[in-house]
């Protein structure tokens, strides 16, 4: 992984996978991503990108809509799977 912060990586991934975000939009940590257009296909693509960016295998138990509900829920999943990373940074 580069020196890019986790929060920054997540924000970048989300912007790449959400159809309803402009550059000016601030994505709140508890913003329901479905309202920004994240659908099931978007979740699949996002999951694949997360596996690559965070060098992690998302187990089936994490492949549920609740994981992708908000940026905070995604960050929480990453924190569980990669406790060595500092999510807050």
């Amino acid at each position: 992984m580069s020196n890019e912060s986790i929060a920054s990586i997540l924000d970048r991934l989300l912007r790449a996978h959400l159809p309803n975000t402009g550059d000016d939009l601030v994505i709140g940590q508890h913003e329901p991503l479905s309202r920004l257009g994240l659908d099931s296909l978007g979740m699949v693509r996002l999951a694949m990108r997360m596996e690559r960016e965070f060098k992690v295998d998302l187990p089936d138990g994490f492949l549920i809509p609740e994981t992708f509900e908000t940026p905070a829920s995604i960050a929480a999943a990453v924190a569980v799977l990669r406790p060595d990373l500092d999510i807050a940074s």
Binding site: N20, S34, G37, D39, S40, L41, D57, D60, L63, P65
Partner: protein, 384 residues
């Protein structure tokens, strides 16, 4: 369920199946809603079979509902499928009944034996039921919505229609809610006629739907959740149960044909006997498939997040694809066994209506679409 209650339910199902059988040919020929069979379901208190006792219903689980569906579909595919769709809507209400309006509706459904339909497809978005173009408009304490529904099965005969729509005008196409639309507040203008190959009695016409009612009729649980945890798995199990009924009846007719041939010439094994053995093996395969689907839902029913797992979605999608494929194979085999007698539209060995009904299975939510969705989900899932 007590033995006496189970016996009463079983007798009620048999009585309705007899009514369905008596009208099946006319329902199919004239593409008519099976009025008599649904009235019999109503008077036998079977429409509320899946409603919990606390709301006044029959308190039956998915196993009994599936077996009833199969029994009805054996005699009339349209009646069986209507029952399956209705009970899928009931399950969606029961399992997401946090709202008082939903609880009131369930009490009414049980007390008045109401028939529940759904309007999930939309002309502008095709068959993708997880996408809506129409939206809920709030006007004070009321709601209203307008939907170009390309298909509403038995919409013209339903007492309640569950309609998917975007949460509001600003919501994305997948930010859907489910709206409980009482027939009194619904206007249906039919604009597509259901004149099709099979399942003709489901009267799945297209309509311009307009609905209004109290604002609390908009269910608070997002449709994404209702779909993943209930509508999708229950629909696929019960549709498969309906198709199993078609397959069972097809094999039964083939058995009667082969046995009649054997009795005419006891010294010769009829040529269709081996094919009958093969078709029966397929039928057993299909029964096991549907039984496993019922069991899997019972196992996961109380663990909603497990039902939402991508791997579980693939599982219930696969059930639909497999059952809809098997039913055509089995019905076609039965027709081949019965020969011209099976090809005929009348007579005790006719498989014509069954085969026509069976062909719809792969198309109601097209298997290509479902396999496409599974293909996407399998890009990240780990165990299937």
């Amino acid at each position: 369920m007590t033995t006496v209650a189970a016996q009463a339910t079983s007798e009620a199902v048999t009585a309705v199946a007899d009514v369905a059988a008596a009208h099946a040919e006319q329902v199919d020929r004239e593409s008519r809603f099976p009025v008599a069979a649904v009235e019999a379901l109503r008077s036998g208190r079977l429409l509320s079979m899946g409603v919990p006792a606390g709301f006044g219903g029959g308190d039956q689980g998915i196993g009994t509902v599936a077996r009833t569906t199969t029994a009805l579909a054996r005699k009339c595919g349209s009646t069986g499928l209507i029952f399956a769709m209705h009970q899928s809507q009931i399950a969606s209400l029961v399992r997401h009944s946090e709202d008082e309006a939903v609880q009131r509706a369930l009490r009414r459904i049980a007390a008045e034996e109401l028939l529940v339909a759904s309007a999930t497809t939309e002309a502008s978005v095709g068959g993708d039921v997880r996408t809506s173009s129409c939206f809920v408009e709030r006007v004070g304490t009321r709601f209203r919505l307008a939907k170009q529904a390309s298909v509403i099965s038995y919409g013209g005969h339903a007492d309640i229609i569950l309609v998917t729509a975007r949460r509001d005008a600003a919501s994305g196409p997948q930010d859907q809610v489910l709206v409980l639309c009482d027939r009194d507040g619904v206007t249906l203008e039919q604009n597509v006629v259901w004149d099709v190959l099979g399942m003709r009695g489901t009267c799945s016409h297209g309509y311009a739907l307009q609905a209004e009612g109290d604002g609390d009729a908009v269910m608070s649980t997002p449709y994404a959740v209702i779909s993943a945890q209930t509508m999708l798995p229950v629909s696929h199990v019960l549709w498969a149960a309906a198709w199993l009924g078609l397959a069972e009846e097809a094999v039964e007719r083939a058995r009667l044909f082969v046995q009649a041939s054997a009795r005419k010439k006891p010294e010769v094994v009829p040529p269709g006997a081996v094919r009958l053995a093969e078709a029966t093996a397929r039928l057993h395969q299909m029964r096991a498939l549907v039984g496993a689907g019922v069991g899997r839902f019972e196992e996961l029913a109380a663990v909603p997040h497990e039902l939402s797992r991508m791997s579980t979605v693939v599982e219930f999608n696969s059930l639909k694809v497999s059952a809809s494929t098997l039913v055509v194979e089995i019905a076609a085999a039965a027709m081949s066994i019965c020969g011209i007698a099976g090809y005929r539209c009348d007579g005790p060995y006719s498989v014509a209506r069954i085969l026509r009904d069976a062909y719809g299975a792969a198309l109601m939510v097209n298997n290509d679409r479902i396999n496409g969705n599974n293909a996407q989900l399998m890009l990240v899932g780990k165990s299937f």
